[in-house]
């Protein structure tokens, strides 16, 4: 079981490292997709020629080909979930920005009507209401490439 253990742990480690790196360039995105397609093709092959998979599994110290597929599937699943989580966070952040912009715009109108906000103070604020991704941020904003 030594070979497969080593491979699986290395795969998890490498996957985590890749997913979690700060830069997420175009290359990374392409890599993820290539990995996905390769995994799918591998599965097709495994369905067509299970004996070959069993041969590979035996080489790696796994009893059956189906077990090997299962192990790989677990890793793919975890990495997929992680990817999904990160992407979801990005979406959440965008939604927040959007809702905030809408909320502030509407509030300026409403508060002026209520008489708590002076009119001259509204015009001033309209461009300032959305500097959210300005340069003066401490936290790096999510950019397109990071997905």
């Amino acid at each position: 079981m030594i070979a497969i253990q080593f491979l699986l742990i290395a795969a998890v480690g490498l996957g985590l490292l890749l997913f979690v790196r700060r830069w997420h360039g175009v290359g990374m995105q392409a890599g993820k997709r290539i990995g996905l397609v390769a995994f799918a093709l591998l599965n097709v092959y495994a369905v067509l020629r299970p004996d070959d998979v069993t041969w590979v599994a035996n080489r790696l110290g796994v009893g059956r080909g189906a077990d090997l597929i299962l192990y790989v599937l677990v890793i793919a699943f975890v990495l997929g979930m992680l990817n999904f989580y990160l992407r979801f966070k990005t979406m959440d952040r965008r939604l927040t920005e959007l809702a905030r912009t809408i909320a502030i715009r509407e509030a300026e109108l409403v508060n002026r009507e209520r008489g708590v906000l002076a009119a001259h103070n509204v015009a001033l604020s309209v461009p300032a209401a959305e500097p959210a991704t300005g340069p003066a941020t401490v936290i790096v904003p999510v950019t397109e490439e990071q997905r």
Binding site: L86, K89, T90, T96, A103, A107, V110, N121, L124, S125
Partner: protein, 241 residues
């Protein structure tokens, strides 16, 4: 229509606080929020309440006061509400100090005034309220354990020598507020703020404050279980995206 918002409450020198904005995130606090806001308005003329998609008429309660009201169209979380309030307040002219204040009545206005005075004295850029400095008066035992654990688990809180990382009462001076950008929408924002402060060069000071632990506010506090969520979100954040 007045030039500056005029407080309705008794004047305890609110004109001297014209450059202070109090940000109050509100989520389903209809029972108490109007009273809390009125109390704050007596000490600070500029108050903005961010209604975070409440379903219990909190917004109407706020609208009955002289506070500014910003309504999130959907519930986004307390951190997002704070950031919205800060963004709104910063866009108004003249704000130099920004106070975050809880809507459930657990904070005291005079504590906030003392903290603003500390910030105004120029000795610090950020003033944080702490339940544990000096006399740790009236914090329930389990609550204390949870909060102490939060501090112990936060390396940044330790580096800043903070005694209370999750107090909702804070004062930011203008330069800090300009830099601050709360991205953690939910309760993890408190740790996020502390982390930001620890990484920056801002001078941070803690001031002892008293918390009114009413039954109402107790029922709303953070639980230890939620601490797990906070830790997970924060650790994911710190590893990039």
């Amino acid at each position: 229509m007045p030039e500056q918002p005029v407080p309705t409450g008794p004047g305890s020198g609110p004109e001297s606080a014209a450059d202070v904005w109090v940000v109050i995130p509100v989520f389903n606090e209809a029972a108490v929020v109007a009273a809390v806001v009125t109390e704050v308005l007596a000490g600070f003329p500029n108050v903005v309440c961010v209604d975070d998609g409440s379903t219990d008429g909190s917004a109407a309660q706020v609208a009955s006061t002289r506070a500014h009201l910003v309504r999130h169209p959907i519930n986004l979380g307390q951190g997002a509400a704070l950031q919205t309030g800060l963004t709104y307040a910063k866009a108004r002219s003249g704000g130099q100090f920004f106070v975050t204040f809880d809507a459930d009545g657990q904070h005291r206005v005079d504590d906030a005034q003392r903290m603003v005075a500390v910030a105004r004295s120029g000795t610090s850029d950020v003033v944080l309220g702490s339940r544990f400095l000096d006399q740790a008066t009236n914090v329930p035992r389990l609550k204390r354990l949870v909060l102490r654990t939060a501090v112990a688990l936060s390396p940044t809180a330790r580096r800043l020598h903070l005694s209370d990382a999750h107090n909702g009462l804070r004062v930011f001076s203008r330069p800090v507020a300009d830099q601050l950008r709360i991205t953690m929408s939910d309760m993890a924002h408190a740790s996020e703020i502390v982390t930001l402060l620890a990484r920056s060069a801002w001078r941070v000071e803690e001031v002892p404050v008293t918390i009114n632990y009413t039954d109402y506010s107790k029922a709303k506090g953070q639980s230890l279980v939620n601490g797990v969520n906070i830790l997970f979100d924060l650790s994911m954040k710190q590893r990039g995206r």
